[in-house]
């Protein structure tokens, strides 16, 4: 009996519920001691986060592995409207992703949050971080659209407050407001879509597939696609990302970039895979959006010198990669090629998971770098590999993984997508095949540029000699800020090497290379080469300096800068960056031969901001001003408006009936 009770309690539903409760408790704890600067409370709270993450990771791993569905209902407001949750395989995968990343982010935060100066703000940071993660978990496990939109909003709100952490800076306020406007816009689209869905099938259930009227499904798809794209940062809805991610604290940018944009991807997958009936052109739309985001994202990342903004653009690129996989799934499944479709979907899911891991790794380590050097500008860094070795190694593994180098995890997802692309000659429609080839070539370019981008990032931040005094004085961060990223870095390696085994254990027979074997082979060949060279060399050590163009002292000014590295590409892709060059020269003489002084500047125009966002903002502003004229402050005017409204209402009543 006792044993039965025990097993009854230990049931997965209860474990899942316990995990949620633990998150909630952990998040409320710092609020209790909000005005006291108690390290202990924050640490206990972060510890609870870590334990809850482990618990939820276990539950979701089990659910995903065994392919079982967990369903719980927490609170019923009305028969149709209730907070109920379920974990099927898709949800479990995302809950696992969130749990793993938040485990590491919680460990990292133990050290990171303490470097602030405002005690209330530090407590709020910890608390809101908990609510933010809890909301994300609840969004991806929502069983109905009501719960989905509710927690979607709590997620948006808590992340908005987190972005505003350093609200006294003008830049942060701009980022926060921008983010808030965009995220609310996304909610507008989602709510509209959900209302239309409800009108079609009379149910809030997220998996409901019986449609009374399928003609509106296209509208639902477009609404959902735009709504989720805004949140995921798909170009051209991406503009909030490069503002909000650098402005927020680094542990939060890791969560936002690693997880929150994946929640939007989850939403897209949930509805496309389970609720709606996709058509071929939906797939083409998703694929095109993905390719555009991937290529433009990485091109923008290439020229960026703000470390965190570079990572934000890189997130846009990776979201593009995931969308490409999803688009391929839709196209192939509509063209009767299920095996290729599964390949694309597996690639998308695996890449989404891996991106969560290595992007949070990169954001956390770059947070450590910013913490130590006090700047986000990579031109002012350099030589940090000697000063922060552990951070450097973690960042390096993340950079390798994001550049899709075997045998790390980033390689596998992109490989599957490539595989799916390469087999697309099986498609019957020649135009579709042409599209596939075009997309494939752009996609290949993306991968190459991503590698170049991270060569630039790693090289300029960690290698060579420091360029500024701040970088010179940098030192390794506290232990917890090393431990969190190290776990993620280890995961990058493990997920890459054992990818084939992982797919197999989940029951997918996917033709991916056995990276374990390749990894062993690579290591063996490196070791062999090293041993041969070592044996063959004379053993003499010669220490000399690199030739510095004849300049005697070699310092940071002699180095290849990040801008210099990106320069050829910036010049080649001038049309995309829309660079504007201006130069002014003054001379001593009238023949313009003796140079006096000059000024040259190169400005990168922000295409989307100047041609899409600002015109809309200006139009809204004009409309608001026109509406604001109505507010005169005179009571008579207001009553006159009411009068007019009533008369109009009367006319409408007379007109309709």
């Amino acid at each position: 009996m006792t044993l039965g009770l025990f097993w009854g309690w230990i049931m997965l539903e209860n474990l899942f519920f316990a995990g949620l409760v633990a998150w909630f408790a952990g998040a409320t704890l710092p609020l209790i001691s909000i005005s006291s600067d108690s390290k202990t409370f924050r640490r206990i709270s972060l510890g609870i986060y870590a334990i809850a993450s482990l618990l939820l990771a276990d539950v979701s791993l089990f659910a995903a592995y065994k392919n079982i569905t967990i369903a719980i209902t927490i609170y019923k407001i009305l028969p149709q409207i209730q907070f109920s949750f379920m974990l099927d395989r898709l949800s479990a995968l995302f809950v696992l992703m969130i749990s793993v990343v938040s485990l590491c982010a919680s460990i990292y935060s133990v050290g990171y949050v303490e470097h602030g100066h405002h005690k209330v703000r530090k407590n709020l940071l910890v608390s809101l971080m908990g609510f933010f993660i809890l909301s994300m978990i609840l969004v991806v496990s929502s069983a109905n659209t009501f719960a989905f939109i509710f927690f979607w909003e709590t997620m948006s709100l808590s992340s908005f407050f987190l972005v505003m952490y350093e609200y006294e800076k003008k830049e942060t306020r701009k980022a926060g407001i921008f983010y808030f406007a965009m995220t609310q816009l996304s909610t507008v689209f989602l709510i509209t879509a959900f209302v239309v869905l409800y009108a079609i099938n009379g149910s809030f259930d997220i998996r409901h597939t019986a449609f009374a009227d399928p003609s509106l499904l296209t509208a639902v798809f477009l609404l959902l696609f735009v709504g989720f794209s805004i949140k995921a940062g798909v170009i051209p809805f991406h503009k909030w990302l490069p503002y909000a991610h650098p402005a927020s604290p680094s542990n939060i940018s890791a969560l936002m970039s690693g997880l929150m944009i994946k929640v939007a991807i989850y939403g897209m997958m949930r509805f496309l895979l389970f609720a709606l009936a996709p058509e071929l052109w939906w797939g083409i739309l998703v694929l095109s959006a993905g390719i555009i985001s991937a290529i433009l994202g990485v091109i923008y990342a290439m020229k960026e010198n703000d470390l965190k903004r570079l990572l934000a653009y890189s997130s846009i690129e990776n979201i593009g990669v995931v969308l490409v996989g999803l688009g391929l799934y839709l196209i192939f499944s509509q063209s009767g090629l299920p095996s290729l479709a599964i390949l694309g979907l597996a690639g998308a899911l695996f890449h989404a998971f891996n991106h969560a891991i290595f992007k949070s790794l990169l954001f956390l380590t770059s947070g450590s770098v910013v913490y130590s050097t006090g700047t986000r500008n990579i031109e002012e860094m350099g030589g940090l590999v000697h000063r922060m070795p552990f951070t450097a190694i973690s960042f390096f593994i993340g950079a390798l993984s994001i550049s899709a180098l075997p045998p790390l995890s980033g390689f596998v997802g992109e490989f599957l997508i490539f595989q799916s692309f390469l087999d697309s000659h099986a498609l019957a429609d020649p135009m579709l095949r042409l599209l596939m080839v075009t997309c494939l070539s752009s996609f290949a370019l993306t991968s190459a540029l991503a590698a170049a981008c991270f060569v630039k990032a790693f090289g300029a931040v960690f290698l060579a000699v420091p360029r500024t005094e701040n970088a010179q004085k940098a030192h390794e961060v506290p232990k917890s800020m090393i431990a969190g990223p190290i776990i993620l870095a280890a995961l990058c390696v493990v997920l890459g090497i054992f990818s084939r085994q992982i797919f197999k254990s989940l029951g997918f027979s996917i033709d991916s290379p056995d990276l374990f074997f390749i990894g062993v082979f690579l290591i063996a060949s490196y070791a062999l080469t090293f041993a041969v060279l070592r044996a063959a060399s004379s053993g003499k050590v010669r220490i000399s300096e690199t030739w510095g163009c004849g300049i005697i002292s070699q310092n940071g000014r002699m180095e290849y800068t990040a801008s210099g590295f990106a320069q050829p590409l910036v010049r080649m892709l001038k049309a995309i960056y829309r660079t504007e060059e201006r130069s002014e020269r003054k001379f001593f003489d009238s023949q313009s031969s003796i140079f006096k002084e000059g000024k040259a500047e190169m400005r990168l125009m922000q295409f989307f901001e100047e041609y899409i966002y600002m015109p809309i903002a200006r139009a809204v502003n004009t409309a608001s001003k026109a509406v604001a004229h109505l507010q005169t402050g005179s009571l008579d005017d207001y009553i006159a408006y009411t009068f007019v409204a009533v008369v109009v209402l009367l006319l409408v009543v007379g007109w309709i009936i």
């Binding site: 009571l635 009553i639 006159a640 009411t642 009068f643 008369v647 007379g654 009936i657």
Partner: protein, 230 residues
């Protein structure tokens, strides 16, 4: 008998409409209040006539309440306020002058009649005199027009009261407003007029001048209080 009463009600309603038009156009403040008093009396007569047909006790209570509050008590209060004021006539207007407003009233009544006759015949065919409901809506709209087109606070109050009369009329003919709601509205009105009476010293001209006068009144009140204490 019923036929006679229906005809009688129609006559009363026509009189109510005339009184409404009178309020919209008159500038003499005292006449406005008297007209309001008469209008309320006419409405209570309508309620009484309806009682003869429908035999609902509520209508009887309504008639009594209306006469007591709207044609006696509230006009009494307003006259008290007016006695304290220097101004007897309304000279400033917003948007529309009285001459135009009488035309607007005509159009409004017509619009309400056309629109509502369509709506009401479609929804409830058994109710024959929607004329009452139409007049109720028109009266409410006319009251609103008075509120936003006149500057003097007293006129605005009369406009508000006329609006309420319109609502009452509409309720009597169409929706059967529960008695408790009607009673509450009357209490609201009395409180409104009372507050107006208290503030009257500062408000005898218009809202724009109110602030300055309120300060003076405040001093006056506090002085009086001090005098009492002495």
């Amino acid at each position: 008998m019923e036929f006679l009463v229906e005809g009688w009600i129609n006559v009363l309603l026509a009189l109510v409409l005339i009184s409404g038009a009178f309020i919209v156009t008159r500038r003499d403040l005292l006449a406005l209040v008297s007209t309001y008093s008469i209008q309320s009396f006419l409405i209570s007569a309508v309620a009484l006539s309806l009682y003869l047909i429908e035999k609902h006790n509520v209508l009887l209570y309504l008639a009594i309440l209306t006469v007591a509050s709207k044609s006696l008590l509230i006009p009494y209060f307003i006259r008290t306020i007016q006695r304290k004021m220097r101004i007897r006539r309304d000279l400033e207007f917003h948007y529309i002058t009285p001459i135009i407003s009488i035309f607007v009233t005509l159009i409004l009544t017509l619009v309400a009649y056309i629109c509502l006759s369509k709506a009401l015949t479609a929804s409830s065919a058994q109710n024959d005199f929607y004329l009452g409901a139409v007049l109720g809506v028109s009266l409410a709209l006319m009251g609103m027009m008075v509120i936003f087109s006149r500057r003097k606070v007293i006129t605005k109050i009369v406009g508000y009261l006329m609006m309420e009369n319109g609502v009452l009329l509409f309720g009597m003919f169409l929706t059967e407003l529960p008695f408790i709601v009607e009673a509450m509205i009357v209490i609201d009105l009395i409180i409104l007029v009372l507050i107006a009476a208290i503030l009257a010293v500062g408000m005898d001209a218009s809202i724009e001048e109110f602030q300055a006068r309120l300060n003076v009144a405040h001093k006056w009140f506090t002085q009086e209080k001090e005098d009492d204490e002495i």
